[in-house]
């Protein structure tokens, strides 16, 4: 039964290759996108750290995005 599942009645090579190409490509794109997102989040935080306390508080007060990125980074740390 397992052998039948793997060979797929002679079409196994084509079927497994198709599914593999799809899932490997999708996984590569997913991890690359995630890596870029994390890189930008860290760069944003680095910019935020460069500000003076007053400027930082003002930026956090005005931007929900800044608050969220800071909160997410605290969660992950």
């Amino acid at each position: 039964m397992i052998s039948n599942f793997i060979t797929m009645n002679g079409y196994g090579v084509y079927i497994w290759l198709s599914f593999s190409v799809v899932f490997i490509s999708c996984a590569v794109v997913y991890f690359k996108t995630k890596k870029t997102l994390i890189k930008y989040e860290q760069e944003f935080l680095a910019e935020l750290q460069k500000l003076t306390l007053e400027e930082k508080n003002k930026a956090l007060e005005n931007s929900k995005v800044a608050q969220q990125i800071l909160a997410t980074s605290c969660e992950t740390n």
């Binding site: 198709s18 999708c26 969220q68």
Partner: protein
């Protein structure tokens, strides 16, 4: 109303949606793969090779859908100057390119056992390759051009010209004699696909749509952070 669509509120919504998709994605993927590779019956003519359909067809549909959305938003952006559409298009284009390439590759892998050839320059296959090139040109405008106004103009022209290819892809199997089979699934009228094959196809389509949505949200979130970073520098 417009305040609700501010980048801050959109950012919060994106966070929630990413979490939601992450929590359900693997369950639906396992269900889809179980149906596609085990439970669905082999075709009476093509045998088990028909299982390639469960990745090929959703990939092709999403490739086409992404370009349709890009065209629509490009026109709307050109007319109403909504900057968000520009960022949405920039985030969608790589997803469309990925799925178009996957449709071409899996189509080739399906063609060998069913047609006896990896490739034929027939209307459907060629028009899909043309779509792939339009995606490449579209993405290149964001990479090569610097001025945002110029990017919007050039990318909108590419999207509008490329959209002429969309009905050609759809109706190529009816207009010309092609190796590719005509559509089995119709929105209007009765489909010729068996329900036992339609169900796995729809589940796999859902899997691909969730994946596409996840990548889109991550890319769009990156764009929002990039803008906010610029604003911090300015202040």
């Amino acid at each position: 109303m417009f305040k609700y669509f501010s980048s801050s509120n959109i950012y919060l919504l994106i966070q929630k949606l990413i979490k939601l998709i992450n929590s359900i994605f693997f369950l639906i993927l396992v269900i889809g793969l179980t149906f596609a590779l085990i439970l669905s019956p082999p075709d009476y003519l093509q045998g088990d090779a028909v299982r390639i359909m469960y990745v090929h067809v959703p990939a092709a549909w999403i490739g086409l859908a992404c370009f349709s959305v890009i065209t629509l938003l490009s026109v709307l952006n050109f007319v109403f100057k909504v900057k968000n559409f520009y960022f949405i298009n920039k985030s969608i284009a790589p997803i469309g390119l990925l799925f178009t390439c996957l449709a071409i590759i899996t189509g080739s892998l399906w063609g060998q056992p069913t047609w006896g050839t990896w490739w034929a320059w027939d209307a459907r296959l060629t028009s899909m390759v043309v779509l792939m090139f339009f995606y490449i040109f579209y993405i290149l405008t964001f990479k090569l051009l610097k001025k945002e106004e110029l990017i919007i103009k050039v990318s909108s022209i590419i999207a509008v010209v490329g959209s002429i290819n969309l009905p050609i892809i759809k109706y190529s199997v009816e207009w010309w004699a092609t190796l590719h089979q005509p559509a089995s699934i119709k929105i209007i009228g009765s489909s010729s696909i068996h329900p036992e094959m339609l169900l796995p196809l729809m589940v796999m389509l859902l899997v691909f749509l969730l994946y596409a949505a996840l990548i889109f949200l991550m890319k769009y979130k990156t764009e929002i952070i990039r803008i906010k970073k610029k604003n911090i520098k300015r202040n």
